[in-house]
């Protein structure tokens, strides 16, 4: 289990009176081993900051983020950034992009080949393996970014609105692929979304965030099991949970 305990984070800002902008205040979240939690909240509430705190790319002013086993978080995290285009390596092929984390971890050639092939098959990228990423569509690029973040089997996978720039049908197709991937691997996942359908479809639990400084206003369990298909989105049960989430969202936004 990974846990954020009473973390706060502020940034320097010329817009606020005291020169500091409090983004996260007294925020706690624990994510169980093999759980997929979605964070759903208004734009600019601090969701990305929460992910960065979990990733360790920034540090909290107060509070801590830790594995309950006490292990170091370093090299245990896969992170799919929102602007994935800026993180892929356009001078490398799809295969080479996905192999990158294994290369820098000094994995052996055989291991790199096997793991890269496995994850490319999993995400349906095998037929594009020799293409350069700039030759791919937005959806496929996003899959490369996700495949690259999972090829080394991180203990924690962080995804920051990865499908936000894709059109409706492609993002829905990716929901099912991603959910399938997660069901196969059971990697502990925190998925940030501003799309309520996406948050409910993908999450085992939806954490609804308040506006800044952010905190969790509601945690709503999504009891649909591991395997999910898109037909679920039009079911009454889905609609009921979706309504709960939206109600909590409104409360959080007006707090």
């Amino acid at each position: 289990m990974i846990e954020a305990q009473k973390i706060s984070k502020s940034f320097t800002s010329s817009l606020s009176e005291n020169g500091k902008l409090l983004v996260v205040d007294d925020f706690s979240l624990s994510v169980g081993e093999g759980e997929l939690v979605t964070l759903f909240g208004p734009n600019g509430c601090g969701k990305t900051t929460i992910l960065n705190l979990f990733a360790g790319t920034i540090h909290p002013d107060t509070g801590t983020v830790f594995w309950n086993s006490g292990e170091s978080r370093s090299k245990e995290i896969g992170y799919v950034f929102q602007n994935y285009g800026d993180t892929l390596l356009p001078w490398r092929s799809v295969r080479s992009n996905i192999a990158f984390p294994l290369e820098v971890r000094r994995a052996e050639g055989k291991e790199i080949k096997e793991k890269t092939a496995r994850v490319m098959n999993l995400f349906g990228l095998a037929e594009h393996s020799d293409k350069y990423v700039y030759e791919l569509s937005g959806g496929l690029k996003q899959l490369v970014a996700i495949a690259r973040s999972t090829v080394y089997y991180p203990r924690l996978l962080l995804l920051d609105e990865p499908f936000s720039s894709l059109d409706h049908s492609i993002s829905r197709m990716l929901w099912t692929r991603f959910r399938q991937f997660w069901a196969d691997t059971k990697v502990t996942t925190i998925f940030v979304s501003h799309n309520v359908d996406e948050a409910v479809f993908l999450g085992d639990r939806v954490c609804v965030m308040s506006s800044r400084p952010t905190r969790i206003v509601a945690e709503i369990a999504v009891p649909f099991g591991k395997e999910r298909d898109l037909g679920l989105v039009s079911s009454q049960e889905f609609f009921n949970i979706r309504t709960q989430v939206l109600r909590a969202f409104e409360e959080g936004r007006n707090k």
């Binding site: 790319t57 990158f100 820098v104 973040s149």
Partner: protein, 248 residues
Amino acid sequence: MKHIIFLILPLFLLAIWVLLTSLGMVDAIFLPTPWSVIGSIARGLIAGSLAKDTFITVGRSLAGFFVAAAIGVPLGLLVGRIKPLAYATQPTIDFFRSIPATALFPLFLFFFGIGDKAKIAIVVYACSLIVLVNTAYGAMQVKRMRILCAQVMGAGRFDIFWKIIIPESSPGIFAGLRIALSLSFVLIVVTEMFIGTTVGLGYQIMNAQMVYRTSDMYASIVLAGIVGYLANRSLLSVEARVLHWVGH
């Protein structure tokens, strides 16, 4: 059409040259006919003297160019990625790159004598600054997000440098190399004209000019242009292969 369009401008210029000389609008002492220049080139190449001059000039230029690249690229990467170093060196670099290298002939003659070393050193001086500045600019453009993402995936400083910073700086590196390659040919020809030597296209240009062998002079000038063009084409073909991803 795409494959022949590049011929239009040279053919147009050649036509003007033919027109000017055949109509007697310019005295042959200033501009001989293209045919006499082509004849001079053919005679010089067959006799072997012009081929040797060309070979020597190309050798000197490339020696200077490669040394300049070997100095300019690594220093440019350091200056581009280490902000305090950029602040500390920028005024000095800007000062020296504003000085025409040829104005420093006496200094180079003092340190390197009148042989090839001085000529190559002038090329190294001027071209390394150009490569350095362009490389530094390329290195400054490396996306912070790309480095951050690589760090999250477990990349250390060495990997980030070799696998992220160098490839992403390569458009700037190649921009510098392209300018430096052309400049290296220009500078070598100029130094051959003024610093003691008895071989090289620059020497032949100066020599022919002194004795009014204008066709021979233009033969060396045209050859200098042709080898510079071919060198640039070679670099461009390497660049097209390395930088296939730029602009997407």
